[in-house]
């Protein structure tokens, strides 16, 4: 319902902007500022840069609004445009990241408080995503940004779904190889759960 309303509002605002009403673009920015800033954040992990990138994406969208052919939804067009902006900007000014092989490993969670260890795990995995080679990094970013929708990620990148799936699989393998400790930990947790289940079943 919200999506349909958004689509209708987008369409109306785009028509008004194309008719010369610049102020109508505010509605588009209002609706999409959150997603575009969050998407940029996932690309660079720098709040101020994320806002700059999102702003640039909106300005480009405004310039190229007449280029939206309406064969796809406005959001698909906007996300694809934003991804292009973010990708080319990060190519020119890369974020300071270590290669994935040099990304810091997790310290042993057993020695730390569980919540802190979980937070560290999350941070390390997210940093490792930024350290992935570009061709694998973007599918991961967009897959999770689109709430694990491969088709949406593929549309945003303008790639076939099969290619995105293959790159996601490779990215996961790289992350897995980087975090064997995490794998072990969770496997252990799972085995623990299984054992507990067995115990309970007895």
């Amino acid at each position: 319902m919200t999506t349909t309303t958004n689509a209708a509002e987008d369409l109306a605002d785009v028509d008004r902007v194309l008719a010369g009403d610049v102020q109508a673009f505010e509605g588009i920015v209002r609706r999409w500022q959150g997603p575009l800033v969050n998407m940029a954040w996932r690309y660079c992990r720098d709040r101020s840069r994320a806002e700059e990138l999102a702003q640039e994406a909106f300005v480009r969208a405004w310039r190229g609004l007449s280029g939206w052919r309406r064969d796809s939804s406005f959001s698909t067009w906007l996300f694809a445009l934003a991804a292009n902006v973010y990708r080319s900007d990060l190519k020119r000014f890369p974020t300071v990241t270590l290669p994935i092989d040099e990304a810091p490993e997790l310290s042993r969670p057993a020695t730390q408080h569980h919540a802190l260890a979980a937070q560290q795990s999350s941070d390390s995995v997210r940093r490792a995503v930024l350290a992935l080679p570009t061709r694998y990094r973007e599918p991961v970013i967009l897959f999770y940004f689109h709430e694990m929708d491969v088709a949406a990620a593929a549309r945003t990148m303008g790639l076939p779904e099969g290619t995105v799936k293959a790159r996601l699989s490779r990215a996961r393998a790289l992350l897995r190889s980087r975090f064997p400790h995490l794998e072990g930990e969770h496997a252990a947790m799972e085995f623990g759960d299984l054992n507990t289940g067995k115990e309970a079943g007895r």
């Binding site: 610049v22 102020q23 673009f25 505010e26 920015v29 209002r30 500022q33 959150g34 800033v37 969050n38 954040w41 996932r42 709040r47 994320a50 806002e51 999102a54 702003q55 909106f58 300005v59 480009r60 405004w62 310039r63 190229g64 795990s121 999350s122 995995v125 997210r126 995503v129 991961v140 999770y144 709430e147 694990m148 996961r172 992350l175 897995r176 995490l182 794998e183 969770h186 496997a187 947790m189 799972e190 299984l194």
Partner: protein, 131 residues
């Protein structure tokens, strides 16, 4: 054993999924909307880019193309009598014939490269939003 391995892999997949999918949403700063609209207003107020003066450039372009065309034609034309004037053996005639043709080839190549570079620069300028 196989099932255990699968279970292990699923658990790890789910963990990576869980970490990467549970991202805290970033709220744009309060001035973000205003800042974007300022930029858009600036863009809207800026004078439209000057379109390429095709009307003025067209006669010049026709003259250039005509000159090149005439030059190429003249080269080919001058090459032909030269070849027929000499009573040379077949291999020699073909060598004489080849020269102007080779020159025409070079000219065609140069024109092709010019056209390609023009198209490329137009495309790049278009992508960058300069046109």
């Amino acid at each position: 054993m196989k099932q255990t391995r699968k279970h292990q892999s699923d658990a790890e997949h789910n963990e990576i999924d869980r970490i990467l999918a549970t991202e805290d949403a970033l709220v744009p700063s309060s001035g973000f909307l205003a800042s974007v609209m300022d930029h858009v207003q600036e863009e809207a107020a800026a004078p439209a880019p000057i379109p390429f003066p095709w009307k003025r450039a067209l006669p010049g372009a026709i003259v250039i193309v005509g000159t090149f065309g005439a030059g190429a034609f003249e080269m080919v034309r001058q090459g032909l009598p030269t070849a027929s004037e000499f009573a040379l053996t077949a291999p020699h005639i073909s060598a004489v014939m080849e020269r102007p043709l080779e020159q025409v080839g070079w000219i065609a190549l140069a024109l092709g490269v010019s056209l390609f570079s023009w198209l490329l620069s137009n495309r790049l300028a278009g992508r960058a939003g300069l046109l």
